[in-house]
Amino acid sequence: MDGVLQFVLNSVSLGSVYSLFALGLIMVFGILKLVNFAYGELIMVAGYTWFVLQGSILPLVVVVIVAVLVAALTSVLTERVAFRPVRSNSINAMLITSFAVSTLLQNSALVIVSPRARAVDVPLFFYNNINLGGVQISMSNVVVIIVSAITLFGLLLLMQKTRLGITLRAAADDFRMLQLLGVRADNVIVSAFAISGVLAGIAGFLWISRIGSVSPTIGMAPLLIALIAIVVGGMNSLSGAIVGGFFLGTLTIALQLLLPQEMLAFRDAVIFAVVILVLVFRPQGIVKGRFATERIG
């Protein structure tokens, strides 16, 4: 029984971080149909902000908020500088642009900070365990679950109740119609990038607090995770991203328990093979959103 509870808890904790990753990626994908390869670097930016500020007197909460804001700002900046000029070009041009932005940010970190990983001070209470009816629960899992729950709830409120959220959802369904109704494309897209940055920042904080250090290539794993999650979950809806994230989190924990050690190394290859199979045989993913293929410019 303990084992089962532990498994569920780990899966929920990992799955919620993965969901946040996927949501951040799909915010932009939903509107521009762009897989933002520079998404992982937003997480890296948040991590380095944390690293730079950790010596100061600011409390952790403030540091995290600043890191999230910096990630959001970077996201908006990349949109303004790199993506806006190519937006009216083909999807290939946008994909390659995002690849270039990713290389640019990654190598900037390499030049400005260091190619080596830098440790961040994860607060000690993260490592404590609390005992709940005989089950050991680590504080970090609790923090992850609480923060993700708050973020998901906040995002839900934003998307369902505010004008911005309704605009964003409408934009993902039919952007041209939205433009005809007089909504400015630039504003909608900038908000999507900002929200994507905020999600990357929050998820990045949770991710980096698990790892304990930040390096220029730290964004790679989250990018791949988000990519898999949105493909498997469904690329046409936000709920698809959440489902995909939790599915992948559970699958990862399960494979870790079940696969023999020598097969574990090939885990990622297996998971990516699943991605290709899903793309070929069920391109809409687990959650079938309203179908929208139209791109905007």
Binding site: V35, I91, S114, V275, V280
Partner: protein, 357 residues
């Protein structure tokens, strides 16, 4: 189909012959000067030219973005290495190699061809379902394929020595091997573009529905092109492996993909001359920058490390290029093709990286 007149065919060959002359002269000068560093740079450039031409044959003609081709280069490199490393050295370099493979020792050419063939067979098997996809889905799938190839190359210790460096290769590739193959592939890429397969492919790029309506099996032509281009990328990998002689799976991943894509996009993916010029320019730029990077880091003028500066500047160039001239330097018509030819085809021009309306 009407046969083009000899004169028209001749005009089409002008850019090809021009490129061959340029590269031949470049190779002659390099071997005449005999500077080892220059020799190395030019040789690697020709190998990259083969790689990028391989990618161009698929990407430029079909209009599908592929991240996977650097993976095929990796497969070609590793497969040819397994065949060509001398038996004695193999026992050291790959102690866990399967007995069936451990006894094989081939010359360079058969090893290279086997490596390329393995890359092509792999591409043919995994490629067929992927060719049904388009736009984003196809890009994501090819990206996933690159990751899969990378994971397998860096984990299949028995054959690839895992993430560690594979050594023990003999240095078969020199400047002239690379030049000869590069020129041959240049011709192949040209012929491919003008062949019936290439034309069908380009038709499917410009309008996939119209192409299938006139009876082109889009999936099949894409698949054939994918397989052929994987063969050529595998070949470039084999040439590269036998030039560098020790390498690791990390050489065939994101950084390499970025450089290859930069070369292709800067030059112009739709034209063979554009591709060749892109390779030339990006090599000059990145080697120049790298030299500056090294002198900066030696002199210590700058307060920060300089490794990575080259990539930063290349990325900036790429972003500008995509914003200002998304079709590359040489967009639709081969460099040197006659104006009169251009006027005839100009109506159907629609750059692949510019969006169709």
């Amino acid at each position: 189909m009407k046969m083009p007149s000899i004169a028209a065919a001749g005009r089409k060959l002008v850019p090809l012959i021009g490129m061959i002359v340029v590269f031949g002269v470049l190779a002659l000068i390099t071997s005449f000067l005999g500077i080892p560093l220059l020799d190395r740079i030019v040789t690697v450039m020709f190998i990259m030219l083969i790689m990028v031409l391989g990618l161009q044959m698929f990407m430029g003609n079909s209009g599908l973005l592929s991240f996977a081709h650097v993976g095929f280069m990796g497969i070609g490199a590793y497969a040819s290495a397994v065949f060509s490393i001398p038996v004695a050295a193999k026992a050291m370099a790959l102690p866990d190699l399967y007995p069936a493979l451990a006894g094989i020792e081939m010359g360079f050419l058969p090893a290279m061809m086997s490596g390329a063939l393995i890359a092509a067979i792999f591409a043919a098997i995994v490629g067929y379902p992927l060719m049904r996809l388009s736009d984003t889905a196809s890009a994501i799938a090819s990206f996933a394929l690159l990751v899969i190839v990378h994971v397998v190359l860096s984990q299949w210790s028995a054959v690839t020595n895992g993430p560690r460096t594979l050594f023990g290769l003999l240095k078969y590739t020199d400047l002239w091997t690379a030049v000869t193959w590069a020129i041959m592939i240049l011709v192949v890429a040209f012929l491919f573009k003008e062949s019936s397969l290439g034309m069908k492919l380009r038709a499917s790029r410009d309008n996939v529905h119209a192409a299938s309506a006139i009876g082109i099996n889009v999936v099949k032509v894409r698949w054939l092109a994918f397989t052929i281009s994987a063969f050529i990328c595998g070949m470039s990998g084999a040439l590269w492996a036998h030039f560098i002689t020790s390498f690791q799976p990390g050489s065939f991943y994101m950084t390499q993909t970025f450089i290859v894509l930069t070369m292709l996009i800067v030059g112009g993916p739709r034209t063979v001359t554009g591709t060749a010029i892109g390779v030339l320019l990006v090599t000059i730029a990145s080697e120049g920058l790298r030299a500056m990077e090294n002198s900066f880091s030696l002199s210590g003028v700058l307060p920060f490390g300089t490794v990575g500066m080259t990539e930063i500047l290349l990325a900036i160039v790429l972003i500008f290029m995509l914003a200002l001239r998304p079709g590359g330097l040489i967009q639709t018509f081969e460099l040197g093709a006659k104006r009169r030819n251009r006027a005839v085809v100009a109506t159907s021009s629609d750059s692949e990286l510019t969006r169709e309306v």
